[in-house]
Each structure stands twice: as structure tokens, then as C-alpha cells.
């Protein structure tokens, strides 16, 4: 067991866990933040996506020992970012979700895409969202919501 200080959504937190504990489980079980989901544990589905120092990161494969002082942003705080709020609003407006389990990760990935490419092409959307799994197959409305959010962003 070791003690780590991490910055989550702007707040400094301290946890004492085994160094190999993935960031995902630190968030879910130590900090009781369950918005970030467990889907596979091997980085194949994206349900666990957070932003680590601004980079979309799959928290299920990153042990707490490798996080360091890089700030973590999770789905719970994404609405404080105007872009994040726009993406969420489009998700709601277009009725994207079905079971909803993958959507935290989908939204986090979509926000990372739009931060980097405000007006993505269809190909860019498909490539960037290409590793986020949705068993309900809400992919069509995800595409539409990203395009719609993109249109609403100021240049």
C-alpha cells in the first residue's frame, strides 16, 4: 500500500492503495466517483475514459503509480467545460443513449476529439471514436451528436 496525491476535477485527493491499482478503481472505489465505468479492463472498450492532463486516457489500464501530478478530469466535471456541456446537451437533445453504460466514455472521447479538431470530418469522427464500444449500437446518433455539437462551437 502506498499513499498518492492526485488532482481530480481540480480537487487534490489523497488515497492509500496498492501501487498497481488502476486509476479507474481508485476513482470508483476510493473516491466513490462511479461515472467512469468498467467495461473490459484491457483498454478495448473505452467505457473508462477520463482526461489525463488533457489527453483522453483509458483509466482501467493506467495504474495509480503512473499518474503522477497530471490532472484528472472525469465525466462528472465535463459539464463545467462549455464544450463538454455542449456535447452533453446534444447527446440529450438527439436521444443518443440507450442503456447508457458506455456513454460516459463516449462523451469523454467526443470532447477530446472536438477539443483537438473542432470541425471533424466523418472519417475523423469514425477514427477517433473507433475504439469506443457500444453494445446497444448507438453509433449513428453518436455521429450525429458530434456533428451537431461541432456546428454549435464558436470558431
Amino acid at each position: 500500500m502506498e499513499t498518492y496525491k492526485i488532482n481530480v476535477n481540480g480537487v487534490s485527493k489523497q488515497v492509500t492503495v496498492d501501487p498497481g491499482t488502476p486509476l479507474l478503481w481508485v476513482l470508483r472505489e476510493e473516491l466513490k466517483m462511479t461515472g467512469t465505468k468498467y467495461g473490459c479492463g484491457i483498454g478495448a472498450c473505452g467505457a473508462c475514459t477520463v482526461h489525463l492532463d488533457g489527453v483522453a486516457t483509458r483509466s482501467c489500464v493506467v495504474p495509480i503509480s503512473l499518474v503522477g501530478n497530471r490532472p484528472v478530469v472525469t465525466i462528472e466535471a465535463i459539464a463545467t467545460d462549455p464544450l463538454g456541456r455542449t456535447v452533453q446537451d446534444e447527446w440529450v437533445s438527439l436521444d443518443v443513449v440507450q442503456c447508457g453504460y458506455c456513454q460516459s466514455g463516449q462523451i469523454m472521447s467526443a470532447v477530446a476529439l472536438l477539443k483537438s479538431i473542432p470541425k471533424p470530418t466523418d472519417t475523423e469522427i469514425e477514427e477517433s471514436m473507433g475504439g469506443n464500444l457500444c453494445r446497444c449500437a448507438t453509433y449513428l446518433r453518436i455521429r450525429e451528436a458530434i456533428k451537431s455539437a461541432s456546428q454549435q462551437l464558436k470558431r
Binding site: M1, V17, D18, G20, T21, P22, W25, R28, E29, K32, M33, T34, G35, T36, K37, Y38, G39, C40, G41, I42, A44, C45, A47, T74, I75, E76, I78, A79, Q88, W91, V92, S93, D95, V96, V97, Q98, C99, G100, Y101, C102, Q103, S104, I107, D122, E126, M129, G130, G131, N132, L133, C134, R135, C136, A137, T138, Y139, L140, R141, I142, R143
Partner: protein, 731 residues
């Protein structure tokens, strides 16, 4: 009390029902619907009406909020919104004030047709449409009676709109104000339901009630549950189904800080090791360090290769007869040149819902409390009670929001719940959450069974089939379950032959039979069940016949369909209308594929545009026409059509198969069993609903069977090959 016959029920159950109305403690109105149902024979005693709460369907809160209880699990299909819509519409409730909650396990929430609390068979709207309408209408009637009584006017002089009763002389009263008075009204024996033109919500594209919480991280699924003092358990299961623990060494496991207990538990078949710890990661680490010596000597070690060979051999002999129409000798009169003989093969499929299976149970000795995203609440409740030595009514069962199911959460043997109960039993007073990892899920069985079909078709000079001999080989899903009495006839499991035996194509001299080998792999229904493979076989063979006859695939189907196949005919006509233009102008390397299928009383017809990119089928677009009778929420229906097509693509994925070698499942996680990602599903899907006034039928499963055959029918045009083995490993 009055007998009410639910329209359209196949079984035509007679049921006594009454509304019991009471004032709720907080001053609102609590409306319960009690159903004394004759249960399916195997379930035994009649349910007794329950005291309130928990069996309320609608509560009017003093602040005007209206809480509607949904009797089915919400796992993506949208009932959390569409069932409340139905009730709120008849009630004339202000939709902006409506909230929903998932019902706990209770007799009053049982499916009116099947007599268990369930979601499955695409039956939520179909079976509860009438039910929710009546509760809504009767609630409205009592609110009106209360207002009319206060204003000393006749009820029929009043009208209602958006949670307000309006009197004939400008009087008005909010539902919240009337609630107490309404509670004292007698429950009307009969009630007038709305005509379709009076619907304000039903038939409209109403947005989901659960979207925002699912987008901001606040929604809680079963896996997210956190209770004071809760422990987490994982289970090490035998590498071969049915194996048993022989010996184990838990020293290393127990040495990890936070591990509470390590012990053997019984499984439905065999035994396993449970590890209970303070946290999930701790439990998982401890399980990884467990050294277990398994006894797998007494169970069959299944290998996909051997099973495939065995099935193909079996398929060459007639099985138990599912349907035998006409004269089997008719085939002998057809020369081989005018026959198609086709052998199809389908693998085991895992459901792999995004939320891995989990259940939380706290056992208190004389009662227990359960939290689970279950498709089979009352079945699971009974199983948990049995393991804990309790009566079902001593088990409070909370239904949690679930991250997908597709059938995986509707398990007749309740094996997950039984594991959880066996563990909770050791931790009296402490809530224990059992978690299945993704590896547990991929390797844990309860798959869509492996199948082989062998079909022999005799064709006349007009290109129409005049004889059809069809043998299906695959495990029976319902054998050994309470559903067997209902669904096995003449040794044939209906869930294995649905989609072929009950085809709407008019084929003379039609013979379908089935073999159900016993195999040491647990199997289960996978979204659209038998239609997943039978639909593929029928729609690819019909397509092949159409090509041989040099006929347009839609025209051929219309010619071959029975005149009674109203829904399929309507769907094909609508499909033709909505896709004719683009189908005529696809680019050179693209092809069009057609498929239609009826399942769960809903007809679906689909056209896809496909090309080959990166050696995989690229589905550029799909047009789908659906006939679900009355369309309660077109926005939900569109999402189910789009999602169902995408889900059906699982069958085409190169790594879309569960295989076994020497009894062991070869795949571990999404790297080895790979479901569709965004690039694998149709890029665009336009959905068209046949306008209908017939009773609503389901939308969750009907789209699934058509995508694989439609795509493969398109590929046949591009490569000249007919694909009869799924998944599509190579083109």
C-alpha cells in the same frame, strides 16, 4: 370485480383485476393494480394481493410530480420512458412533471401474459400497453370524480389536460390538490380509453427520461452500488463447465491486505472458489493468486471442431418433427439440377452487455435485500430465497438500471444470483456485491447455441420452391427450465426453430425437424433467439432462389410470401417506396442486399448498400421498414431499429465467435471476441414505420435477424460467393 380480457393475448387469460386506491403517507395518491393471475402451471400457488407499498404504479406527489413505476427492467430498450408515456397519456398528466422508477420484484408487476416479472421476447409494450392504459385512465377518472364532487357537477362535464381538471364553468384544480379526495373515490369498474386521435404522447417522438443522468455520470447501475460496509466478491470458476474444486491453496490470496474470506461455493453445476474483499481490485488480485486444482474428470470436454463435425453428421438425418406439411416424396420428383442443398453453420455467441454481471445481496437471517439489474426479477427472487432458506416475500428485490442485457440477464437457473446468495450467506448483515469481470463474462457460458442447418430445396420451372426439407441441429435452450412445458413440443424446442418452422413464406411440401444434442455448454436466448440463425438461413436461401429465378429480390419475396403475411407485405412495400431511388444508383463497387423477417409479431424489411473495404463489408446505409402495430414512441422505435441492426452485425464480425478447445473457452475478452465498433455498423440508417392501429408488438429484437442476411446477400453480388458460415472470417 369484472373480467377483463386483454386484447390480443394468445392465451386469453381470464383475470380479475381491481384498482386499490389509498392515500399515501405523504398526502398524495397511490394507485395500485392488483392482478390475481392464473400462473403458468409450473409456478404453483396463486399470488396474494400485496399491501402497499411497494406495488404502486403511479404516485401523485403533493408538489405535482407524478412518479410512474415501470414493471420491467430498463436496459436500453426505452421502457423507462415509453410505459410511463402510455399511462401519462390516458391520465392526461403533465409530461414535464413525470418521473419514472423501476419496480422492485412483486407479484403485481408480473407480465400479464407470462405470469413472471420479466423483460424479454420484445413483450414490454405488447403485454403492458393495455395494462398501463387502464391504470392511467382509471386514475384520471377518479381525479375527475373528485373534482366533479367538489364542484357539484357531472363528471362528463369536466375535461382534463396537463394535470389539471377543468369544470364546465371555468373551475379548475391541479391533480396534486385533488389527490387526497381522489383516493377516497371508488375505483371505476370500467373506463373509457382514448381513441388514437386523442393521444397526446402515444405516437409522438418523446425524448427519454433517463438521458441526462446517463450523460453526466450520475446514473447508478448495479455495478455502481455502494452501501455502508459493503464487501466485493469475485468467483474463480472451473475452466471446464461443471468442474469442481479438488484442492486449493489460498495463502498468497489471503496475504493481500483487504481480503476477507476465501471459500468454496456450489454452482448450479460444479463448485467454485469465492474471494471476498473490501474492494474489487483487491478481490481480483487475490483471485489471481489463488492456486486451485480442479477436478474436471467427470464432465464433457467440448471442442468446437468435434462438435461441428458431429452436428453436420446429425443434420444429415431427420430429427424430431417441428412441421410437416404436404408430401415429402415431392422432393424425390425434383432432379438434382433443380435443387439447392445448403449447409449452414453458426457459432456460440456471447451477449457481452457493456455492464458486466453483478448482484448485491445483504442477508439478515430472517430477511434479505437484493439489488440487481435483472430481466427476471421474480424468478431470481425465488432462487435467492431458496439458497438463503427464506420465503420469496422475505426477499426485497430492488431492480437496478442495467447496462444492456440482450437476454443475458434473463436466466431461468438464476446462476449469478445463486452465487451471490451463497456468498452473502457467509456474511450475515453485510452487503456483498458479486462482480463478474469481462473475462468471466466472455468465458462464463450461457451463449446463443451453436447451430448447423441443412436445407434441401426442390425448385420448379418458375423458380419457386416446391419442396423444402430443413434439419436444424442445436442445443435446446429451455430444456430443464420451467419454460420447457410451454416451449418444447414433440421434442422440438420452439426457440430453435422459430423463424424457419413458422415462416411466412408459402412453401408446399415443407418439412422442418430438429436435433437437440446434450452438450456441456450452458446456453441461453440471445436477442431474437432462434431468429438469429433461422432468419439468416431463410433470407439467404430465398435470395438465392430469387437470383436463380432472375427476379428482383423484393418482387420474389412478395410472390413467395403467404397472402396473410400482412406485416411483411406492408414492410416490403414501404421499403420499396423508400429505397427504390438510392438502390438504383449505387456506385460501381457497391451492391444492394435485401432481407425481411417477422419475429415477435413485428415485421421488418431492410435494404443495405455494401462495399468491401479493407477486406471487410462496409455498410454504407440501411433503409429499414418496420410494422410494429401501434407505434407508441417513434423515437424509441428508431433507436431500436438502428441499434438492433448494429447489434446484429455481431454475427458478421471476424472475431464474432466463442469457440472451445478441450472444454475451455478460447476467447478471454474483447480482444478475442470482438463485437461491432462504429465502423462495423451501417453508417446511416433511415427508419420507416408502417402506420398501424393494431395492438403494439415489439421492437427490441425484430431488427436483429435481418442485417446479417441482407449484408451477405449484397456481398454475394460483389464476390459471387454465398456465405453460409458465420462469422464472416474472410470474404
Amino acid at each position: 370485480m369484472r373480467d377483463i380480457h386483454t386484447t390480443g393475448n394468445v392465451l386469453n387469460l381470464t383475470r380479475r383485476s381491481f384498482l386499490r386506491v389509498s392515500a399515501s403517507a405523504a398526502g398524495g395518491l397511490l394507485v395500485s393494480l392488483h392482478l390475481d393471475l392464473p400462473l403458468a402451471a409450473q409456478e404453483g400457488a396463486q399470488p396474494k394481493p400485496k399491501a402497499y407499498p411497494p406495488d404502486a404504479f403511479v404516485q401523485i406527489k403533493p408538489d405535482g410530480k407524478i412518479l410512474i413505476t415501470v414493471n420491467r427492467l430498463e436496459f436500453g430498450q426505452g421502457v423507462y420512458t415509453s410505459l410511463p408515456m402510455i399511462l401519462a397519456d390516458e391520465m392526461d398528466a403533465d409530461w414535464s412533471h413525470v418521473m419514472a422508477e423501476l419496480a422492485p420484484a412483486a407479484d403485481v408487476y408480473k407480465d400479464p401474459l407470462y405470469g413472471i416479472q420479466m423483460v424479454g421476447g420484445s413483450g414490454s409494450i405488447a403485454h403492458s400497453f393495455q395494462q398501463y392504459r387502464e391504470v392511467g385512465a382509471k386514475t384520471r377518472a377518479m381525479l375527475v370524480a373528485a373534482a366533479a364532487g367538489q364542484w357539484k357537477v357531472a363528471p362528463d362535464q369536466c375535461r382534463t389536460e396537463a394535470s389539471v381538471v377543468h369544470g364546465p364553468s371555468g373551475q379548475s384544480a391541479q391533480y396534486a390538490e385533488l389527490a387526497q379526495a381522489a383516493a377516497r373515490q371508488p375505483v371505476p369498474a370500467t373506463v373509457q380509453l382514448k381513441t388514437p386521435s386523442q393521444f397526446r404522447l402515444v405516437g409522438k417522438p418523446v425524448r427519454r427520461l433517463d438521458s441526462r443522468p446517463k450523460c453526466d455520470g450520475s446514473i447508478k447501475f448495479g455495478l455502481d452500488l455502494d452501501l455502508p460496509g459493503m464487501k466485493t466478491a469475485v468467483v474463480a470458476r472451473p475452466p471446464v463447465f461443471g468442474g469442481r474444486v479438488k484442492t486449493f491453496d489460498d495463502k498468497a490470496a489471503r496475504s493481500i491486505e483487504g481480503v476477507r474470506e476465501v471459500f468454496e461455493i456450489p454452482l448450479v453445476r460444479g463448485t467454485a472458489m469465492a474471494v471476498v474483499a473490501d474492494k474489487f481490485w483487491t478481490a481480483k488480485q487475490a483471485r489471481d493468486r489463488l492456486k486451485i486444482d480442479w477436478d474436471v474428470s467427470a464432465v464433457e470436454h467440448v471442442g468446437t471442431e468435434e462438435l461441428s463435425a458431429k452436428y453436420k453428421e446429425l443434420a444429415r438425418t431427420p430429427g424430431n418433427i417441428a412441421v410437416n406439411r404436404g408430401d415429402q416424396k415431392a422432393m424425390d420428383a425434383v432432379s438434382p439440377a433443380n435443387q439447392i442443398v445448403a449447409e449452414y453453420e453458426f457459432p456460440y455467441l456471447a451477449h457481452a452487455p457493456m455492464e458486466p454481471l453483478n448482484t448485491t445481496i445483504r442477508f439478515d437471517g430472517d430477511r434479505a435485500e437484493v439489488w440487481a439489474g435483472s430481466q427476471f426479477q421474480t424468478v431470481d427472487q425465488m432462487a435467492i430465497a431458496e439458497v438463503l432458506g427464506l420465503k420469496p416475500e422475505q426477499v426485497t428485490f430492488h431492480t437496478e438500471m442495467a447496462g444492456g442485457g440482450f437476454g443475458r440477464r434473463a436466466v431461468p437457473d438464476s446462476h449469478v444470483q445463486r452465487e451471490a446468495a451463497a456468498i452473502a450467506k457467509r456474511f450475515r448483515g453485510t452487503p456483498v456485491k458479486l462482480v463478474w469481470t469481462r473475462e468471466d463474462d466472455v468465458q462464463g457460458g450461457y451463449y446463443r447455441p451453436m447451430h448447423v442447418h441443412r436445407v434441401q430445396i426442390g425448385i420448379d420451372h418458375g423458380g419457386m420452391p416446391i419442396a423444402w426439407r430443413h434439419v436444424i441441429v442445436g442445443q435446446s435452450i429451455v430444456t430443464g427450465t420451467p419454460f420447457a412445458a410451454l416451449l418444447i413440443k414433440n421434442g422440438v424446442d420452439e426457440t430453435a426453430v422459430e423463424g424457419s418452422a413458422d415462416t411466412h413464406y408459402k412453401i408446399p411440401n415443407f418439412h422442418v425437424s430438429a436435433h437437440h444434442p446434450t452438450v456441456n455448454v450452458p446456453v441461453l436466448w440471445w436477442r431474437s433467439v432462434g431468429h438469429t440463425h433461422s432468419g439468416f438461413v431463410m433470407e439467404t436461401l430465398v435470395d438465392e432462389l430469387a437470383t436463380r429465378a432472375k427476379m428482383d429480390p423484393i418482387a420474389y419475396r412478395l410472390k413467395l410470401l403467404s397472402p396473410d403475411a400482412k406485416k411483411l407485405r406492408a414492410c416490403l412495400a414501404l421499403l420499396e417506396q423508400k429505397s427504390a431511388t438510392w438502390r438504383k444508383s449505387v456506385p460501381r463497387n457497391h451492391a444492394v442486399g435485401i432481407a425481411c423477417h417477422e419475429s415477435f409479431e413485428t415485421g421488418v424489411a431492410c435494404a443495405v448498400e455494401v462495399s468491401i473495404e479493407d477486406q471487410r463489408p462496409r455498410i454504407h446505409r440501411a433503409t429499414i421498414a418496420v410494422d410494429p402495430g401501434v407505434a407508441v414512441n417513434p423515437l424509441t422505435i428508431e433507436s431500436q431499429m438502428q441499434g438492433g441492426l448494429g447489434f446484429g452485425v455481431t454475427q458478421l464480425m471476424a472475431k464474432g465467435a466463442i469457440t472451445l478447445k478441450n472444454g475451455r473457452v478460447e476467447q478471454r475478452n474483447f480482444d478475442g471476441y470482438t463485437p461491432p465498433y462504429i465502423k462495423d455498423v451501417p453508417v446511416a440508417v433511415d427508419v420507416h414505420i408502417v402506420p398501424g392501429t393494431e395492438k403494439p408488438s415489439g421492437c427490441g429484437e425484430p431488427p436483429v435477424p435481418v442485417i446479417a442476411p441482407a449484408v451477405v446477400n449484397a456481398l454475394a453480388k460483389l464476390t459471387g460467393k454465398r456465405y453460409r458460415s458465420l462469422p464472416l472470417v474472410s470474404l
